[in-house]
Symmetry: D3
Amino acid sequence: MYLQLSTWPDIEAYLKHSSGVVIPIGSTEQHGPTGLIGTDAICPETIAGGMAEQDILVAPTLSIGVAQHHLAFPGSMTLRPTTLIAVIRDVVASLASQGFTHFYFLNGHGGNIAPVHTAFAEIWSEASLSSEPSNLHLKLGNWFAGPRVNRLSQELFGDADGKHATASEVSLTWHAYPEQQRDAELEPRRAPDGAIRDAAGYRANFPDGRIASEPQLATREHGRRFYEAGLADALEEYRRFVSPAEG
Amino acid sequence: MYLQLSTWPDIEAYLKHSSGVVIPIGSTEQHGPTGLIGTDAICPETIAGGMAEQDILVAPTLSIGVAQHHLAFPGSMTLRPTTLIAVIRDVVASLASQGFTHFYFLNGHGGNIAPVHTAFAEIWSEASLSSEPSNLHLKLGNWFAGPRVNRLSQELFGDADGKHATASEVSLTWHAYPEQQRDAELEPRRAPDGAIRDAAGYRANFPDGRIASEPQLATREHGRRFYEAGLADALEEYRRFVSPAEG
Amino acid sequence: MYLQLSTWPDIEAYLKHSSGVVIPIGSTEQHGPTGLIGTDAICPETIAGGMAEQDILVAPTLSIGVAQHHLAFPGSMTLRPTTLIAVIRDVVASLASQGFTHFYFLNGHGGNIAPVHTAFAEIWSEASLSSEPSNLHLKLGNWFAGPRVNRLSQELFGDADGKHATASEVSLTWHAYPEQQRDAELEPRRAPDGAIRDAAGYRANFPDGRIASEPQLATREHGRRFYEAGLADALEEYRRFVSPAEG
Amino acid sequence: MYLQLSTWPDIEAYLKHSSGVVIPIGSTEQHGPTGLIGTDAICPETIAGGMAEQDILVAPTLSIGVAQHHLAFPGSMTLRPTTLIAVIRDVVASLASQGFTHFYFLNGHGGNIAPVHTAFAEIWSEASLSSEPSNLHLKLGNWFAGPRVNRLSQELFGDADGKHATASEVSLTWHAYPEQQRDAELEPRRAPDGAIRDAAGYRANFPDGRIASEPQLATREHGRRFYEAGLADALEEYRRFVSPAEG
Amino acid sequence: MYLQLSTWPDIEAYLKHSSGVVIPIGSTEQHGPTGLIGTDAICPETIAGGMAEQDILVAPTLSIGVAQHHLAFPGSMTLRPTTLIAVIRDVVASLASQGFTHFYFLNGHGGNIAPVHTAFAEIWSEASLSSEPSNLHLKLGNWFAGPRVNRLSQELFGDADGKHATASEVSLTWHAYPEQQRDAELEPRRAPDGAIRDAAGYRANFPDGRIASEPQLATREHGRRFYEAGLADALEEYRRFVSPAEG
Amino acid sequence: MYLQLSTWPDIEAYLKHSSGVVIPIGSTEQHGPTGLIGTDAICPETIAGGMAEQDILVAPTLSIGVAQHHLAFPGSMTLRPTTLIAVIRDVVASLASQGFTHFYFLNGHGGNIAPVHTAFAEIWSEASLSSEPSNLHLKLGNWFAGPRVNRLSQELFGDADGKHATASEVSLTWHAYPEQQRDAELEPRRAPDGAIRDAAGYRANFPDGRIASEPQLATREHGRRFYEAGLADALEEYRRFVSPAEG
């Protein structure tokens, strides 16, 4: 069930049996010479699509994340972290005003993890500083870090999966957009590893944008399997999150 | 050409012949008992899809706008205006750092008009207060206000098109998502008109969410015609915007 | 009745029969070689003076608006739009805390329109996101856009009135400050038209500061007529605004 | 010379021989049962008027200051301190972009002193944190604290002048607006003294709004003398401030 | 009683008989060639240590203040004033949420005075703009400005104590850290006096960092006397502040 | 070498051979019935003390972190995350303006991890959005997560060390403040485990403040060993961080 494709009476009805919502959050940033700039948004959006088929409400994807370190590659976009915090604060407050209590952000980008957790603390701070209890349950799930996905990545690629522009995520985007498959020789075969700082430093250390990865290993069929693993991981985590026992 | 479905070398190549980009911007808010909550994002996104087919770069849709007045209807979301200003500031700065100069926001929501223009003034203020020239060209186009669209609305609906949850926009969403067509008796046939304030006041004045409209007049075929009119309007405006004469 | 020239018991008494207030808002910016820098504040302040004579409460003029595009001309001042939003938020909250509910901003500057409407949405957002009804009624009236003023402008100047440093507003400032009348040859007679961006771009496109106008047509007698037309427009709009029917 | 009553070529000419400007800053707040709400803006504005006659450039008065503690009395207005800081930052940056270097804020309200000095530190912080020298000279002068004014207050009222709604300032407003003179019995004759906190606490401690004062001692003739003393104090301080030796 | 060396049940018990707390606030900034960079934090922290021995609760020292003007000397640190305002707002709100009502900031740095008072007004503004009474009592005490300390400074140094890197404060740091005593010839013997602006201007006017002072006069024994005088001043002021009569 | 106990010429000399600095960062929050409220600040401050003995520059401890979830226990303090981001931004900018390039934050509190990393991204965003290279190297080290500390914790306590108010950290505070040792029966012996949300939820789930821990296992001798392990971990990580190879 997609929020954008629902009417307000649909949501009114949904709230009678659930106060949970899934919000895909990604990034719009370079993913090496062959990876799509939208990779980090496409991946959680695709998996959330499977959740939507199971009567779980899915909000519009937050497509732009914190990716300042990628800006030296054309097409990359970032929000300042404090901007993303404000966006998440407003998104949560909007739906909370109508009775939603459980917000599951399904994330596709490592650079969002700290800012999203920081946004959660910012939101709860208002209640805590007012000595008022909050009924908000906020959780970040990373599709690329679930147990089934990790096992599959290990099985298919071992440590060749790397850290940015990985074969895992490229495979999943090809599952979602089969016509976007691109092949290219990449030199070196495996990209270098290292630490991330600002955009200029990133491009100096990782000249083609990849980190420690071999996206050449991606296939559409692998992508199908990552979709299934990712969906199972996300469903399991979401259902536990919204269950009364966990609440 | 979609930014999300491009690679960074694609964008590097694009920048050699164009420094313009289209950014659809919408809202996620109730559109009456039968209109989709995503209407205001779907409409500009759909028209931008036609622009993308003509080798114009289209960035990810900013799906959440300023819609505080709709919050009393479940599923509606808002950014505070100052949050949207920060988002636009960061989005523009990101792509400007790579050489983009012309930003065309294709808008689907009346409530965004003032905040987006305000964001433009905020962005230019930095240059102006520093006595530095800005090379940024920022424009907001409203798909629903172009000359061809207005003529078509007048021809098909006259003043029955109304102001919110209009037959025009509902038609266009059905063109984009034919399976989402919904029929319902609406009482009164034409919704009341009036002024907008906060969310509680809005729901009191407009009990089913519509303003002055008769979305019952929508058809998928009308939607196809709005798509064509809207695309022609947007292409004309965009091309004038990025032409050197206008620059 | 001027707020600044009242005592607090005066205002306490006023609140027993009215909860409305007029707040003139303008700008401090160049108005061409012969127009006063204070034009956009003087005009609404002058008209509001007429309202004050009719027992309507008039607050101090907000003299500095959003005028970043004028900064390349000495003497021009701007607030960043987000600063103006904060000012309006605080001004409204101050008087609202004492029982005022209807705020009519009488505006003299086009560049304020978007930021002031954005401020209104920012103010209502707090109530809407808290699921609380707001009793605040916020309206922006532009003295230069009322029906009587527009008719008079058309009658006296036709399309020679132009867009910035217009004969209409210059006339009105001469009505208010007769000793400030200035005559000068201006070249070209009618200033060029075009789009507004940042300050450097503005001065490049509009070298003497005017846009599409012929302030040479201004006279003090015209100014008297604009004062009367503007006052009638503003009184009509304000009275409708504060009437229970409209509320 | 008033900025609002000048043209941009006038200011261009002024900048050839001076880069200093006077900015009156006041407050809009209750001044007891008989004092005008605009007292703290009227006083510095009136004295600045004398400076304007001596070819010193005077900008529009910033009429609303930090007066949160007065809000329990109708008609009082406040800016949050952080809002006032933003206003001052933008005002200074605007004129600095055109070559102004010396900003003399002529103040009428004790509650503005800390926020204005804080704004100065905020402005200089940008330069200091960037290891760049600033050419901005920022000074706050309090009309009520100059040597001649203090001597006159002592001579006329001794310690009966008090702290808020003083006979000094009331006298000066009557000099400026003779028709606004109001007489009333006040009980107690001299208002109580004490500490200031929030608005509710203020009204509880100072029921009619005055602090330690006897505005009944005010006369229009005293006001004329305060005007002359205040003008001499301000001129002396301003001239020393803009002189190269002090620079 | 130190907050950091207490447990939460200790504080729960403390709140049964007192709702007051002392918060030392200082700065980390150059203090001339021989003064410690931590001088302005060490001094109030040391005096607060004496208060802690008398069962007054002492919170952790806020060691970094507003010191933008010192940044041209290595090791100096500043918060922007608006940052310090946010820190103080959060610190007060945290303890206020648990029942603390009286906050006594014991300050060691002149540059903090305006920002801390501004923070107080910012905090009270929230209550005042909401027409709600605040139970917060906020006070800034400057250890260097108490009556006993001033008398001692006058007695020991007269006007040679100066304004920055004074013999008084250097003496007190030597009392606290006897092993940190440093002797050096300083040229000129007494540092120059003047006005403070930004960092570059400060270093130009005060080449070794001192202002009008002769820290060569400092001794450890003087420091002991300043400690005793400062403690007596602070205890007296704090006890008056938290007494019901003053409340 | 402590920044606070240095003079500016000391720091000028230090910068000739190193541009690195250690900044301890902690929290002021409840640590169960027997743990000190200052635990999370005391631990990194104590270990940084060992680094200071090895000629590494140590700045003042940032004692207040993000601890909104602890506020329901008296004595706990928090900064809003956005406040902490501003503090870190200013601290880094201050020392960077003087030539420091490597900032090592030695952290004692899990709740700071996301906000500090978010602050790093915020800082780098400014450079990245300006297409300028940043020379800032920013790193967060958690004393409780180093390899030697983890081994020691496992050896001494196994999984009884838990998550909040752990035997490890309590031991270390007793090493630093031997006189603060407190013994108490705690019921249940091992505290419950669970998820963290706001303050009220925290106190409901963890009634005495501990999470999954048995601080009864703490001893002063264990604390000595944690100090040595923590110091070795931190020294190793810091030296790698500032080495040219890593740079």
